[in-house]
């Protein structure tokens, strides 16, 4: 380890010597100030006026969403605003990096990125994969180790169990049963520990060309898969031959089944590497022959023909410090996540004809990340400490700058489906009510809601969204859907009920609503406006509840209709999971003032200020 630090100091010293050629050299031990300095130089060169710094409340909300994937609770907002210590922003980042929700948020991020939304077949246990991811983020596994372990993963996929479990639902009772059945079925007493990472490999079982394309794209930012069908045309860099050779690195990997014969639910398999090609089933074997016939060669020509385990050799090559793509790809991805646009636009498309902006800064960040021991939290700390991350989303002057390619103001980012759902549940404080209604089926309810949201709100995060891209069904759900509309009613225990019950006048209640939703205090003008709004109402709006059959149906009934098992894969299908909670009877008698409060709450949740990270 020590030699590395010596190297770092030597490089830093060289860097100081070469200061006049400001961006020319690599500079490990990068400081936030140095990053800002480089970016400011670039702004200066291009005559760009940056936005002013962001205020504390908006910074807090931004950091919460980017690091934990939800908005801060109101008491955290007030405490942060009251905190007078000069380094409170840095302290906040440290606190967030230690929060258990950190692992959940990044599990969501990587689960979406790697698994996508489609999962089928009997081999992939998504719960086990998610759990593996979560452990990596809990332990802050160095990125090189993370990627090495993922790409070379071997071992058992699952303890068995039902599809529902494998689709992301943890149901201990069923899991146990499934595992027991699976064992009874095979008569084995195999108790090898599960390696959840293999489920990603299994997603591509029999399709090595898709696996290799994804590996190259996500972890190296190289779109080698373009050469699958023809020599790549843009830069003429990759030939079909290159793609076949790269794919050959994965051809010796195969699932070996543990459960034989008919299995209901997940089939337990062992992912192993053998000394000859595995061609998959009859349908794909002919196609896979071309990869079997190619030598396993990395993108820079390194040949793994003599390696006993091609995937391990490839993973070692990929994650080696000399690999020019590896650190840059993840730095670019993380920068994109936090600042809304990477150095390379379309984060996984590095090529000569798509050059990065500020290539030297990208390289410096990548070198620093490498020198840090591939520490993701170090990288996040560094990015979040920069002034460029802490700029306002409001532009500096009237000149529109639609490009904003140098991050001179913070980019609006639409919340991801998971972020939006979690933020809505947190803002309305619906969780306790969900628990009360769903009881032991809470996880299932949440899963159904999540399915609905990811189906409706999925957008491609891999390249910058220049314009808002939304759909009518998304908007209808926020306007008229149950989550928002039940959430804004004063069901006992939820946000509005507590706010209205608290002592104090309208100004205090309006402030409380702002803190819960927009995570900031309202301005005096806003308070003035909304005090008039909540007191200006004279009539109560009442509609006949268009009652779906049997509004008094026992709770069990409605929850029994939640998606189960294989059907859980069907998004947006069947009844709305929230269809009937908060039925009349649990609500106080509506008054004009009460309805005006609900309407203000509704407007806040529908607002752009709520649904964007800004």
């Amino acid at each position: 380890m020590k030699w590395r630090y010596v190297g770092v100091w030597l490089l830093a010293a060289t860097a100081l010597l070469g200061m006049s050629r400001a961006q020319a050299q690599t500079r490990p031990a990068l400081s936030p100030a140095w990053i800002d300095h480089l970016i400011r130089l670039e702004w200066h060169k291009q005559n760009i006026q940056p936005a002013p710094p962001v205020d504390d409340a908006r910074f807090l909300r931004r950091a919460y969403l980017d690091i934990l994937g939800t908005i801060p609770p109101p008491d955290v907002v007030t405490a942060f605003l009251a905190d007078k210590s000069p380094n409170k922003r840095a302290k906040l980042i440290d606190t967030l990096l230690d929060d258990p929700r950190y692992a959940n948020h990044w599990t969501d991020y990587w689960d979406n990125t790697l698994m996508g939304q489609k999962i089928g077949g009997q081999l992939v246990d998504r719960s086990a994969f998610r759990e593996w991811l979560r452990q990596q983020f809990l332990q802050n596994t160095p990125w090189n180790k993370f990627v090495y372990n993922l790409i070379s993963a071997s071992g058992q996929n699952s303890t068995g169990g039902t599809y529902a479990k494998a689709r992301g639902l943890m149901m201990p009772a069923e899991t146990m049963q499934g595992a027991m059945q699976a064992q009874a079925g095979t008569g084995t007493t195999d108790s090898a520990p599960v390696n959840g990472a293999v489920n990603w490999t299994l997603k591509y079982a029999g399709n090595p060309q898709d696996l290799s394309g994804t590996v190259s794209k996500i972890f190296l930012g190289v779109q080698i898969q373009c050469a699958q069908c023809h020599d790549e045309k843009m830069d003429k860099k990759w030939k079909q031959e290159d793609f076949r050779r790269f794919t050959a690195c994965f051809i010796n990997t195969r699932p070996l089944q543990i459960d034989r014969g008919k299995v209901m639910g997940i089939r337990r398999v062992d992912v192993i590497d053998i000394q000859r090609p595995f061609l998959g089933g009859r349908k794909v074997a002919a196609n896979n022959q071309q990869y079997a016939a190619s030598p396993p060669v990395a993108l820079d020509g390194t040949d793994f023909s003599d390696s006993p385990n091609r995937r391990q050799a490839l993973a070692a090559w990929m994650t080696a410090p000399q690999n020019p793509w590896f650190a840059q790809a993840i730095v670019n991805r993380m920068w994109n996540h936090f600042l809304g646009r990477g150095f390379v636009e379309r984060i996984d498309d590095f090529r000569a004809s798509n050059p990065p902006v500020m290539p030297n800064l990208l390289k410096a960040l990548a070198d620093d990340f490498t020198a840090s021991g591939y520490d993701l939290k170090h990288l996040i700390r560094l990015i979040c400490a920069t002034q460029v991350y802490q700029l306002s989303a409001a532009p500096a002057h009237n000149a529109e700058d639609p490009g904003n390619t140098l991050w001179e103001r913070y980019r609006l980012k639409a919340l991801s489906p998971e972020e939006l759902l979690d933020s809505l549940v947190d803002a309305t404080n619906l969780e306790p009510v969900l628990e009360r209604v769903a009881g032991d089926r809470l996880e299932r309810l949440k899963f159904a809601m999540r399915q609905q949201f990811t189906f409706l709100f999925d957008v491609d995060e891999e390249f910058e969204q220049k314009e808002f891209s939304g759909t009518i069904p998304q908007v209808l759900m926020l306007l008229n859907g149950n989550l928002v509309n039940r959430g804004v009613t004063p069901i006992p225990g939820t946000a509005l009920s507590d706010i209205l019950a608290a002592p104090g006048g309208d100004a205090g209640k309006i402030e409380a609503l702002y803190l819960r939703t927009l995570s900031r205090k309202p301005t005096p003008a806003e308070i003035h406006r909304w005090v008039a709004f909540v007191n200006g109402r004279t009539e109560v709006a009442v509609t006949q509840e268009s009652s779906p059959p049997a509004p008094t149906a026992p709770r069990r009934m409605l929850l029994a209709r939640l998606p189960q098992g294989k059907k859980a894969n069907r998004p947006n299908n069947g009844p709305d999971p929230l269809a009937r909670f908060g039925r009349p009877g649990t609500l106080p008698e509506p008054t004009p003032r009460l309805q005006a409060y609900e309407d203000l709450f509704w407007a806040l949740l529908n607002s752009s200020e709520f649904t964007f990270n800004h």
Partner: protein
């Protein structure tokens, strides 16, 4: 973990078994087809840039396909896709082979068109055959549900670098209008496929159940139109503050989508989704099935200006008990599709409405031991009607047992080029994808002139 011994006999057996298993995993058909599972991929956006435009223009001048584009002026202004999910059996519908080993037990009946006979369980469609162009020579290569569904919705086989827009999204982008009160693309009883790189705004509005309005179009409980206005005025205040602060296009873009959603909620045309308004006799004519009600809704939606409607009839994956199951399916199909054609004709809308009937592939002529038929992309059928189609014909031919196409094979790009031409879309018009490659509605497809009237 089992130590690996390549010589072990046990392992050899295991591998054989396993390869079959994995083949199943690879999508052969692990169980009932999950209609919704492929729905969720709606990624990407990006439109053509100026650089792309020039090359596209050039490409068009040099493109031999342009020669085919000369023909009668397109009549179709809207399209209804009747999607037979699971892969319908051609021999038991449009391409009967009675009296052969593969023909099964169904008889063939004559239709209004001489020389064209179809399955005995489609008598009402037989009576509308003068409107139908039956293609008996479809041939493709995808025998896996998901891949083939993607192919038959987008015109392309799945490709790791790009998500292609579905036909509905192309139509929505090309023929739709951002000012329309209803969405341009509606999918009934199934999720259809999204807009891929064209952008989510061109994707379908999904109606899960033809007996109900689309989700969330109705006001929430205790929200009256008046109260909704008050909510909206509060929201407008928040939005204009935030837009003024950030001066960001995304806020304006969001406002536009809100505007469109609210316009739809308020539109009198929303009633097009409500089939309960129809006379009982009309409802009865479409048949007592969700597919029938979906077809009726499709007719109402097209009348209200919707450009593309997909209606799904699920259940064609008849690996077992093919004949009883297809009889039942045709019991839903026959009245629904024939009444749809008839009603559109009566209302003078058939000429301007293209009706497509297809699934992801056909089924094996050989009947398996479970009285079922398996997946068969080599030779299968599709049907077109209305919208400028030259009706009253069966195009192409399979051999006596339906094993292969022997005359006028139709590949998927040609079918898509034909559909595009009927709809007045240029099959070769391309859009720039996020990976910087222009992509057109069809790749090298040629419109089939004999199908265009």
């Amino acid at each position: 973990m089992t130590p690996y011994d390549p010589q072990s006999k046990e392992l050899k057996e295991l591998e054989e078994m396993e390869e079959q298993q994995i083949e199943q995993e690879l999508g052969r058909c692990p169980g009932p087809v999950d209609l919704w599972s492929s729905a969720i991929d709606r990624r990407g956006l990006f439109k053509v840039g100026m650089g792309g435009l020039l090359s596209l223009l050039l490409a068009q001048w040099l493109d031999p396909r342009m020669a085919y584009a000369q023909g009668p002026a397109p009549k179709a202004k809207a399209c209804i896709l009747l999607w037979m999910n699971g892969g319908p059996s051609q021999l038991d519908t449009w391409d009967p082979k009675p009296g052969t080993d593969t023909g099964g037990s169904f008889k063939a009946i004559p239709t209004r068109v001489k020389e064209v006979s179809i399955c005995e369980h489609l008598p009402m469609l037989a009576d509308q055959a003068d409107h139908l162009a039956i293609i008996r020579s479809m041939t493709s290569r995808e025998g896996n549900h998901q891949r083939a569904q993607y192919l038959m919705h987008t015109g392309y086989a799945p490709n790791p670098t790009v998500t292609h827009p579905s036909l509905g999204a192309w139509v929505s982008e090309e023929l739709g209008s951002p000012q329309a009160e209803l969405p341009d693309f509606v999918s009934i009883s199934g999720p259809s496929f999204g807009a891929g790189f064209l952008g989510v705004q061109y994707g379908p509005l999904v109606v899960q159940n033809p007996n109900q309005l689309p989700q969330n179009v109705a006001f929430a409980p205790n929200v009256t139109p008046g109260r909704f206005e008050m909510r909206r005025s509060a929201l407008d205040m928040l939005e204009s503050d935030f837009a003024a602060q950030t001066r960001d296009n995304k806020v304006k873009g969001r406002e536009a989508v809100y505007g469109r959603a609210i316009r739809m909620m308020r539109s009198p045309k929303l009633k097009a989704f409500d089939i309960s308004e129809e006379p009982d006799a009309v409802k009865a004519a479409y048949g007592d099935s969700n597919f029938g009600r979906g077809c009726l809704m499709a007719r109402r939606l097209v009348e209200a200006g919707v450009k593309f409607v997909e209606v799904v009839l699920d259940g064609w994956d008849t690996h077992q008990d093919n004949f009883n199951r297809t009889t039942k399916l045709m019991g839903a199909l026959d009245p629904a599709m024939s009444t749809l054609i008839k009603e559109l004709a009566d209302r003078h809308l058939l000429d301007s409405t293209l009706i497509l009937w297809m699934g992801e592939f056909g089924r094996t002529p050989k009947i398996n031991p479970n009285e079922g038929r398996d997946h068969y992309p080599q030779a299968w059928s599709a049907a077109l009607a209305g919208g400028g189609v030259r009706g009253g014909q069966a195009y192409g031919q399979t051999d006596a047992e339906g094993m292969k196409v022997v005359d006028k094979p139709v590949v998927v790009p040609d079918l898509f080029a034909t559909i595009a031409t009927l709809l007045g879309l240029d099959p070769s018009k391309s859009f720039m994808t996020p990976v910087g490659r222009p992509i057109a509605i069809t790749e090298k497809g040629k419109p089939i002139r004999e199908l265009i009237g």
